[in-house]
Point group: C2
């Protein structure tokens, strides 16, 4: 029987218990006291290297991730540095509120690795976490770090604000495009450009691949001077074409971050951003507590009736 005590679970997870690890991640998703106890330990452990992968639904990300895992495990290191013998995958679908089905789906989907002990796959959703997925995912990454993982892939479905936010909390962020689906990315072009360290054009055996590439190159030309210009790799995940090149690009980007010291700079910035988010979420949870119930309704009604102004109303609510 597995203990429910966070510290005991962390010990078990460190010794390789996937059951213990899964339970710890459930604590993170659920928020509350046990979450607090878990993260209090997890944030003291080494930080894993995080590769974020995002793109519109139907871009073939799961298959691509599957292939990248195979290649990465074959290599076992980042070009001879930073060796690893296992990989964790966090699969995030912000539109899916519960994990049950998705977990099963992932296990079926990632059949190459479902029984591979070197691979840990987890679909994440939030049940009670204070700040939603954009805070739960970094916490989960740190729990994986505490459990001994040094490489984590975070896959998000979608190209909206939240997906971008989650994917960008990575050391290397890969944005997956596909031919003939320009519209899906148009809506958040600027956001994607900002976060992408690497672009992939998956399903690159389709027509229009060149026009997607031209479009991306043009965006990158507009992006101006940067120490690192994102590369664009063509892949066909279904038959593995281009996946080794993608892995080489991931390694190249990590090497760039290492050599320029940017890895430390980025992570330090991220620590500040995450702290701000937790602070904001803590205060926002006060907002949502206050922005409900009869006291709130009374103030809104008074505002509509012209009996108060919003600032006096807030004073009343905070009083």
């Amino acid at each position: 029987m597995t203990s429910r005590d966070p510290n005991a679970l962390l010990d078990d997870a460190r010794s390789g218990s996937r059951v213990a690890l899964a339970r710890l991640l459930t604590y993170v998703e659920s928020g509350g006291e046990r979450h607090r106890a878990v993260v209090a330990q997890a944030y003291r452990a080494p930080v894993p290297y995080v590769v974020g992968i995002t793109g519109p639904p139907g871009a073939g990300k799961s298959t691509l991730v599957d292939r990248v895992i195979s290649t990465a495990l074959q290599e076992g290191s980042f070009g001879g540095h930073h060796e690893f013998s296992q990989i964790a995958i966090l699969a995030i679908d912000p539109t899916s509120p519960f994990t049950g089905g998705a977990i099963l789906g992932d296990r079926v989907r990632m059949q190459d690795h479902a029984l591979d002990e070197r691979v840990f796959i987890r679909s994440m959703a939030t049940r009670g976490h204070l700040g939603g997925l954009s805070l739960a995912v970094p916490d989960a990454v740190r729990v994986l770090g505490a459990a001994g993982f040094t490489l984590v892939l975070v896959e998000t479905v979608g190209v909206g604000q939240m997906e971008v936010e989650i994917a960008s909390a990575a050391d290397t962020t890969v944005v997956v495009a596909i031919p003939g689906a320009g519209d899906a990315m148009q809506a958040n072009k600027a956001g994607l450009l900002e976060i992408a360290d690497l672009f992939v054009i998956n399903k690159a055996d389709r027509p229009d691949t060149q026009s997607v590439r031209r479009d991306l190159e043009q965006m990158l030309d507009f992006g101006g001077d940067r120490a690192w210009r994102p590369t664009i790799t063509d892949t066909v995940a279904t038959d593995g074409r281009g996946v080794e090149e993608l892995w080489r690009q991931i390694v190249a980007h990590r090497t760039h971050l290492d050599e320029t010291g940017e890895l430390f700079t980025r992570r330090a910035q991220r620590a500040g951003i995450e702290l701000e988010r937790v602070l904001a979420a803590t205060l926002a949870s006060r907002v949502s507590t206050l922005a409900a119930g009869t006291r709130w309704e009374a103030q809104v009604a008074a505002l509509i009736a012209g009996d108060t102004d919003p600032y006096s109303a807030v004073d009343q609510l905070l009083a």
Copy 2:
């Protein structure tokens, strides 16, 4: 000499003093105690009808607004209802932090109306307002209402999140597109579609007008069922073409809101949203106070060093 007392200024503004009105709006921009005193009165006055106009820079919005003012003043009512004899224009450029130059610019620009006593033009910026322009503008609208204006045009430059947020806090929101500038709008297509009650294609004597229209129609087809389907009006603001039709559409939309009761529903929703924003801004000002200074830096440093976790750090900061 004009008093500096908010209540005396409101009396003067109500009697037609533009100097008093300008000073009240400066109080709103500046935030603080005098702002509080002004809004405490202003929110008790009748709410003006607000027409929001937004679109990318260079879409010719100023000229268009100029023409709409002329047409509206000639008409003097919304199709025989809701008469008005004066119009206030709030010109918002979120990228411009100060108003000084912009006010002069507006007076030059809107030369048709700069000396027209029936027209009050004000460029807005925020200096110290708690919630930035998205809260300052609604406050300013209410101050204009308290000064006797029943029709306010809010013009924002840009199609980003903030411009959309400001423009959408209107009863009728007009989104201005132009031929050959699709990219400027692509980035926030979904946001624009959501807020637009009316579309205008200005500079419609240019080629590509039809393709912009097709693009917009397509977006609207995707939008699905709505009680009001946004119309698309071609205008050439420089020679006035289409402006009367645009005014007719504005009148038609107001009539729709009146007849369906949606005007009340919308405004009630907006009251709730605004109250949430003020609450969030009040708490956010606590965030920014906390997310600075040596105590903050110490917690970020501890987080980077692995000596704390974000939740414990926030506890420390809030303690």
